[in-house]
C-alpha cells in the first residue's frame, strides 16, 4: 500500500523541496516526521520540486506505507506533532498504488503580485511588489499566447536532457483587489523556473510570441522572485 499525503508549507525558511546535505528542506522535514511516526525509515517522493522560497498549499508526496492499519486522522495529528510550524500535512489517503511524481496529471501554481510604491508588510511574505501600474488587458492578451502545447526552452533556467515540451491548459490573470495581480497557471508540468520566468517576462511587457519562438532564455525577462509563487494544487 502507498500513502498519498497533501502538505502545506511557507517556503521562506526552506532551501527548497529536495533533500540537500546540510540544508533545511521540505523533503527532509517530512521524511523525519513520517519516519518518526512509523518508527521506521521512510522515503517520500514529491509531485515535483519547489525552489528555495517557493510556498505550497497543495503539494502532494507519496511513500510506501510501512503499516497496513494506518488510521488517517491519527496519522495527520501524529505527523504534524513532529513537524515545525512552517510545514504541515493537511490530508492523507491510502491507495493500492500511487506515485506522487509519475502519476501527476496537472499542476496549478498561483503567482501573486501587488502594485504599490511602498512596501506592504502584510503581503510581503507571498507577493512580489511591483512599483508601477500594469496594463492588465495587455497581460491577458500576451498570456493567451502561452496557452497550449509549446517548446518552453526560452522559459526554462536549464533544459538538461528532459523534453522542453509542456502544455499549459490555462493562464488566468486575476485582480482580486485593484492593487493585486494573480497569475493562475495550470499545466501538465513545468520546467525549472518556468512559472517565474513567464511571470517576469509578462511583467516586463515583452511580446511573448517572439520569445517563445526563439527558444532562447536570453530573449525572455528576468525570473520573478520565488516568494510570490505558491504550488496550489496537483491533479491525479
Amino acid at each position: 500500500m502507498h500513502l498519498k499525503i497533501q502538505c502545506e508549507y511557507v517556503g521562506t525558511k526552506f532551501a527548497g523541496f529536495q533533500t540537500q546535505k546540510g540544508q533545511r528542506t521540505v523533503q527532509a522535514e517530512l521524511e523525519k516526521a513520517i519516519s518518526h511516526y512509523f518508527a521506521t525509515p521512510v522515503k517520500v517522493v514529491g509531485s515535483g520540486r519547489t525552489d528555495a522560497g517557493v510556498h505550497a498549499v497543495g503539494q502532494i508526496v507519496s511513500c510506501l506505507c510501512p503499516r497496513e492499519d494506518v488510521k488517517i486522522y491519527q496519522f495527520l495529528l501524529g505527523v504534524n506533532s513532529y513537524l515545525p510550524s512552517d510545514i504541515s500535512v493537511t490530508a492523507a489517503e491510502i491507495l493500492p498504488k500511487f506515485n506522487a511524481r509519475s502519476d501527476a496529471k496537472a499542476k496549478t501554481y498561483i503567482y501573486k503580485c501587488y502594485i504599490s510604491p511602498t512596501r506592504h508588510p502584510a503581503r510581503d511574505l507571498d507577493h512580489w511588489q511591483l512599483y508601477k501600474p500594469v496594463d492588465v488587458e495587455r497581460l491577458r492578451a500576451q498570456a493567451a499566447v502561452l496557452v497550449g502545447q509549446h517548446d518552453f526552452t526560452a522559459f526554462c533556467a536549464e533544459v538538461g536532457d528532459k523534453s522542453p515540451i509542456r502544455t499549459i491548459y490555462s493562464l488566468d490573470i486575476q485582480t482580486p483587489q485593484p492593487d493585486e495581480i494573480w497569475f493562475v497557471i495550470r499545466g501538465n508540468g513545468f520546467l525549472h523556473n518556468m512559472v517565474r520566468i513567464i511571470v517576469g517576462t509578462l511583467i516586463d511587457g515583452r511580446a511573448i510570441a517572439p520569445v517563445l519562438n526563439s527558444r532562447d532564455r536570453r530573449q525572455a525577462g528576468k525570473t520573478a522572485p520565488a516568494k510570490g509563487l505558491t504550488l496550489y494544487n496537483v491533479e491525479y
Copy 2:
C-alpha cells in the same frame, strides 16, 4: 500643519502599538523613523492602540509636521527606508489640523479564522485555527444582537474610567472560502480586547443577549488570539 500617516504592520514581533520602555513597539519604530527623516524629535498619536500580536493594514497616526515644504512621495520613501521590514507607511497627507485619535469617527477590524483539524502554515500568521465546523447562520443571528449602541462591559478586558458605551455599525460574517470565517466589524470605537472577546464568545456558541445584558466579563467567552485580528481601516 499636521501629518496624517497611514501605516501597515505585521504585529507578530511587536509588543503592541504603544511605546513601552524596553519593548519593541509600533509607535517607537514610527517615531524613530519619522524623527530620523526630519532630523528632529517627532511624537506620533495613533488612532488607537493595538495589542501585542495584532496586525494593521490601515492604522492611522498623526504628528505635528516639522517642516512646511514636505513632499509626500519623498517622505514615504524616506521614512520607509528607516523602518524595519514588518512595518511601513503606505500613505500620507498634510492637513491644517488633524489628530488621529480624537478625530476618528469609525474603525473597521477584520478577525480571520480557518477551520481545519490540521494546521495551515500559510494562514497561521493572521488566522485563528478552529478545529471544528461552525454554524455560520447561528453566528450571524447572534452577531446581529451586538449591532447598535450598547454597554459593552461584558466584552471588555478592563473598563477603567472610560464609558463602556459603544456603537457597532455592522458586524458581517463572511466566508470567502468554505473553510474560512471572517468577522468584519465596524464601530465608533472599541474597548480593550472588545473585538477579540466578541469573536471568542460567538465561536463559543453562547447566546449573546444574556451576556450583553449581564455587563459581566465572566459571562462572555474567552478572548480570541491576537494574531487573528487586523485593524483594517479608520474613518475620519
